[in-house]
């Protein structure tokens, strides 16, 4: 791709430093670009690095010398303390209980709907796809009151929810995430599946493979790149959500880590260093997901959105 775009003035002309001595043209252009991108990247990392720096300093150090000062000691004590004092393992576990089933459910269900609308020619397919896509674009606040009442009406057996209701249970949070997020994933996956040649499933059909085998053994494996991209985005969104759990979970100890962090802030607001450590730790799971799936991330999105 780069070989095609090397006309003389492809760079950000205004930003490049006017170097007086002539060097070879290409490396200089790249240097300008690296300076530009490098400074932007650094600028973008500053807030995060500041939080890391704060979290590494003991509270006594910052309270004596101020936050904007050189460190007299650095260490990981805040991380240990935040982990032990605030019950973080418990809230992490709540987040896992919500995020893992919600992401898997969203991907499976939206793959099914996408498979249906892209592989079969029913008249109402477009309507179906619109219904899902538009559903994801509705603001969450529009749904919340009726949803809350609805959750109070739906009974669950005691082994699923100790409130015996969909309200105040992790199931309720999982369900709304799946219902709400399916729209986006269906949209991306249906675009993706449309690029898979119809001949592949038709060949399977001729061989007598039932639809469920076409779905599980042909369509799903072929969508792996799109799944990687969507799994990244959905894990980030669902793990980070805090509106639904704030509105649909009553007891604090059932909440996921993100909304629990708000409680933590109220409880330990005197010690920002500790909260910085706690906040940074909550980001670790999404960071791991991002780094693990980064390679497939952009390529998986490509066909879905760029079509």
């Amino acid at each position: 791709m780069t070989a095609t775009v090397t006309p003389p003035a492809a760079g950000p002309r205004t930003r490049r430093a006017p170097l007086p001595d002539a060097g070879p043209a290409r490396p200089r252009r790249q240097t300008g670009r690296h300076v530009l991108l490098g400074s932007i990247a650094f600028l973008w990392l500053v807030p995060l690095l500041w939080a890391v720096y704060t979290s590494l300093r003991p509270y006594s150090d910052t309270s004596r010398h101020g936050y904007l000062s050189l460190p007299h000691s650095l260490g990981f004590e805040n991380f240990g303390d935040a982990w032990n004092q605030s019950g973080m393992p418990h809230f992490f576990w709540n987040s896992v209980l919500i995020t893992v089933p919600a992401v898997l459910g969203t991907l499976l269900f939206s793959a099914a709907v996408a498979f249906f609308v892209s592989r079969f020619d029913f008249r109402f397919n477009v309507v179906l796809l619109m219904l899902f896509t538009a559903g994801n674009l509705l603001p969450a606040q529009v749904l919340i009151t009726p949803l809350y009442r609805l959750y109070l009406l739906i009974p669950l057996p005691g082994w699923m929810s100790d409130s015996f209701l969909l309200y105040n249970s992790v199931w309720g949070i999982i369900v709304i995430h799946i219902a709400y997020q399916c729209g986006f994933c269906t949209f991306v996956l249906s675009n993706y599946m449309r690029t898979i040649p119809k001949e592949i499933t038709e060949a399977a059909l001729v061989d007598g493979a039932p639809v469920w085998r076409q779905f599980f053994q042909i369509a799903l494996p072929l969508c792996r790149p799109a799944f990687a991209a969507l799994a990244t985005l959905e894990s980030i969104w669902i793990y980070n959500d805090f509106f639904w759990s704030l509105a649909l979970i009553e007891t604090g100890d059932k909440r996921p880590i993100t909304s629990a962090l708000a409680n933590l802030q109220g409880q330990y607001f005197t010690n920002p260093n500790l909260i910085a450590a706690g906040a940074l730790m909550t980001a670790i799971p999404t960071l791991l997901v991002y780094f693990a799936l980064q390679r497939q991330f952009i390529s998986g999105l490509t066909i879905g959105s760029g079509k």
Binding site: P7, Y67, R123, F132, P139, L143, T258, A279, Y290, G306
Partner: protein
């Protein structure tokens, strides 16, 4: 549309019986009993969830917006017609500031972080070294939860010991700016934090679009003597219309729905002077201590109608091709 479908056994589109309408396409496709059952289940379950948990509440909200209700006993719901709307438009002080702030939010996001994200994607879409590092650095804020983002900006904006005032004092002492408390400043402070996240999101979406772009088009443009900027503006940008539409919708929807970051930076107490937004007013009225469900729902419907314009544009653009 579903009336075209000759499916006597299926009621609402909840159970899409895979009986093919004879008119659609000539390709003969016989689905057996098991296949039909399988398809009905795998499409029916998510569709049911969508209708019950998303569309039904959305419609119910519209209904509630014509009532007055404290949100406790469903028997207390009283029909008041358009009263809530009249009140909102004429007699609810935070409403117009909220609308104004939503518009500011939209304009700011559309004019700064969105083009900047596209600009970054344009520069990252070539085989240069460290590109993955640059991408990660700019995308990183998207990965963080808004609670974390809120906290990070809190320690930057804190008037007493925040980074920003600290740096300003180092340059010219005597500054004590309450970035998040001053009603003239706090919206902009929050917008900066929001732009910090939004840029990475747009960059990734656009980068994905550029990676899927046909390089032959660019090659042709450069053979015709176009320079980099001309190629981008005249060839690449117009050809990436689908991505541009997605980015437009993302920008509009994110600006309308903006909630978490303002909620967190406002101290988690709903709307604050200078930071009123529609989403926060709705939350104030619905989840706040004194529930005015009808009122909040009417606000929600206003937000819904504005969103529907964006959704409608998007769907019309996206599905025009397929609807033939």
């Amino acid at each position: 549309m579903s009336s075209v479908r000759p499916a006597p056994d299926a009621g609402p589109p909840r159970a899409p019986a895979p009986v093919r309408p004879a008119r659609s396409r000539p390709r003969p496709l016989r689905l057996g009993r098991g296949d039909r059952l399988f398809l009905t289940v795998i499409v029916g379950v998510p569709l049911l969830a969508l209708l019950v948990f998303v569309w039904l509440p959305a419609l119910a909200s519209i209904g509630l917006s014509f009532t007055t209700w404290d949100g406790i006993e469903p028997g207390d719901i009283q029909w008041v017609g358009l009263d809530n709307y009249r009140e909102i438009f004429t007699n609810y002080p935070p409403f117009w500031p909220a609308v104004q702030h939503n518009v500011v939010w939209l304009l700011f996001t559309a004019l700064l972080p969105t083009p900047f994200g596209i600009f970054l994607a344009y520069h990252l879409d070539r085989k240069i070294r460290f590109t993955r590092f640059y991408q990660t650095a700019v995308f990183l804020p998207m990965v963080l939860s808004l609670a974390v983002v809120g906290f990070i900006w809190e320690i930057i904006y804190n008037p007493d010991n925040g980074l920003l005032n600290g740096v300003l004092n180092g340059v010219a002492p005597g500054h004590h700016i309450d970035w998040l408390g001053d009603p003239d400043l706090n919206l902009w402070a929050v917008l900066i934090a929001s732009a910090w996240r939004h840029t990475g999101y747009i960059m990734i979406l656009y980068l994905a679009g550029l990676k899927g772009f046909d390089p032959a088009l660019k090659e042709a443009a450069s053979l015709d003597g176009a320079n980099g900027r001309q190629t981008f503006l005249k060839v690449v940008f117009p050809a990436l219309k689908p991505v541009n539409i997605i980015i437009l919708v993302v920008t509009v929807m994110e600006s309308l729905r903006a909630f978490d970051i303002v909620y967190v930076l406002g101290g988690g107490v709903g709307s604050k002077p200078g930071m009123e937004l529609l989403s926060l007013l709705i939350t104030d009225n619905i989840i706040g201590e004194s529930s005015h469900i009808g009122y909040g729902s009417a606000l929600a419907v206003v937000l819904l109608l504005v969103s529907l314009v964006a959704i409608g544009t998007f769907l019309a653009q996206t599905f025009r091709k397929e609807d033939q």
